[in-house]
Amino acid sequence: MLQVSIYKQLSHFTIDVTFCAENEIIALTGPSGSGKTTILEAIAGLTKLDKGSIIVKERTFAADGKSLIPVQRRQVGYVFQDYALFPHKTVWENIAYGMKHESFTKQMIEDLAMKHLINQYPHEISGGEKQRTALIRAFATEPDVLLLDEPFAALDEQTKTKNYEQLLQLHQKWQIPVVFVSHNREEVERLASRVYTIQEGKFTMKALSSEENVTINEID
């Protein structure tokens, strides 16, 4: 369970959002520069809050705007927009850097058909493979919450479809709250159980999607 209440003054606007997530995938969508990445950074502990609280699995990361648990101890998996792979380490060394259990990690590598790439360096693999490496690397830390910042933005359509399936596959196995930022409507509808549209730091729309339909609710 993830409970987030963030209030943070940026240079042009204020982020003021509140949301919760069970062990589901929720999406944050909205124009560039609307504060989506800052929300992920705040959950991870990479940026400070002015006010608000963040609670994950009954652990209070931050309360009254104060960080109570540093980034290193939050057990947050984070896939950055450009993946932020370690360029001087092989795929395996990237994945093993924060790995908790080798057998679980190796199984993931097999499941995502990455075994043949483990000795390659990031500059030697494709965009889709980089994205999968970053995803496995994040899951290998066995996080309590997973944050994805436009993880599919740089991929072609075919690779995207494949990687959507793989994310769902991993999430099926590892039931945790996943918050992902995206611009792509199709991606959002396919992966997320709930969608929040954000503009200048405030939620403007909340879409509840189910398998059959998508309803858009105006937020008061």
């Binding site: 990479l46 290193q72 984070y78 450009d82 932020a84 370690f86 001087h88 850097y97 924060g98």
Partner: protein
């Protein structure tokens, strides 16, 4: 050259090596902190660090004399506490080399720590690793080509330091005479043969350092870059 007049080579290598070790550690530590922190007066502090690059060496020497001289703030303190004097000793040459080579190391290190995506370090933090661990496993290896360039430039600058050294350490044969100093005073004494030998040696040392750096950069620098 006789054994006696090889002293400038020994002293130059000694001061340049020790000053390089000092500025390597200080330059990396300060540049890393400066690259990762924002605070009031950061730009002014950075300008102060780089000042020896643009000031005439005599001005740097004057400043050092002001601090470390007999009546200088630090000079008086050292005399009072340890009965120790920096002026007219090889320590003066060392301090001058440190001060003039620091900006080169600092600038190279600051550029090296600023050139890769900060999220690479953030990713490592989210994986539960301490700042110290992340520094040695991620930041330092990624910055290494730039840091090495800083080391070579700082060493070469320390080796070639003249103006500030002359003002702080003076010219005392077999005590404070580095190669640049030996060249100047050999020319002044009309001993062009000795001066020429030192010039050839220091040109070879400087050329070798820069040549090796360029060769190494071309070979290694881009290896793991995207």
């Amino acid at each position: 050259m006789t054994e006696t007049n090889l002293f400038p080579l020994w002293l130059s290598l000694r001061t340049a090596s020790i000053s390089t070790v000092v500025v390597f550690i200080a330059g990396i530590a300060i540049a890393y902190l400066m690259a990762r922190r924002t605070f009031f007066g950061k730009n002014a502090l950075e300008a102060f660090f780089l000042l020896p690059l643009v000031l005439p060496p005599t001005v740097v020497g004057f400043g050092l004399l002001y601090l470390f001289g007999k009546n200088g703030v630090i000079g008086r303190l050292l005399t009072y506490l340890f009965d120790f004097q920096i002026v007219f000793t090889w320590y003066g040459a060392l301090i001058a080399a440190i001060v003039v080579s620091f900006p080169l190391m600092y600038q190279s290190a600051a550029a090296a720590f600023g050139q890769y995506d900060k999220n690479i370090e953030n990713a490592a933090f989210t994986m539960g690793k301490s700042r110290w661990h992340v520094f040695w496993t991620i930041s330092f290896p990624l910055a290494w080509p730039g840091l090495l360039a800083g080391v070579v430039l700082a060493f070469a600058r320390g080796l070639g330091e003249f103006g500030a050294t002359l003002m702080l350490a003076g010219y005392i044969p077999n005590q404070t005479d580095t190669i640049p100093m030996a060249i100047y005073f050999a020319v002044e004494a009309g001993d062009m043969e000795t001066a020429k030998n030192w010039v050839i040696l220091i040109v070879i040392l400087g050329f070798a350092a820069i040549y090796w750096l360029n060769w190494w950069s071309t070979k290694r620098m881009m290896k793991h870059r995207r």
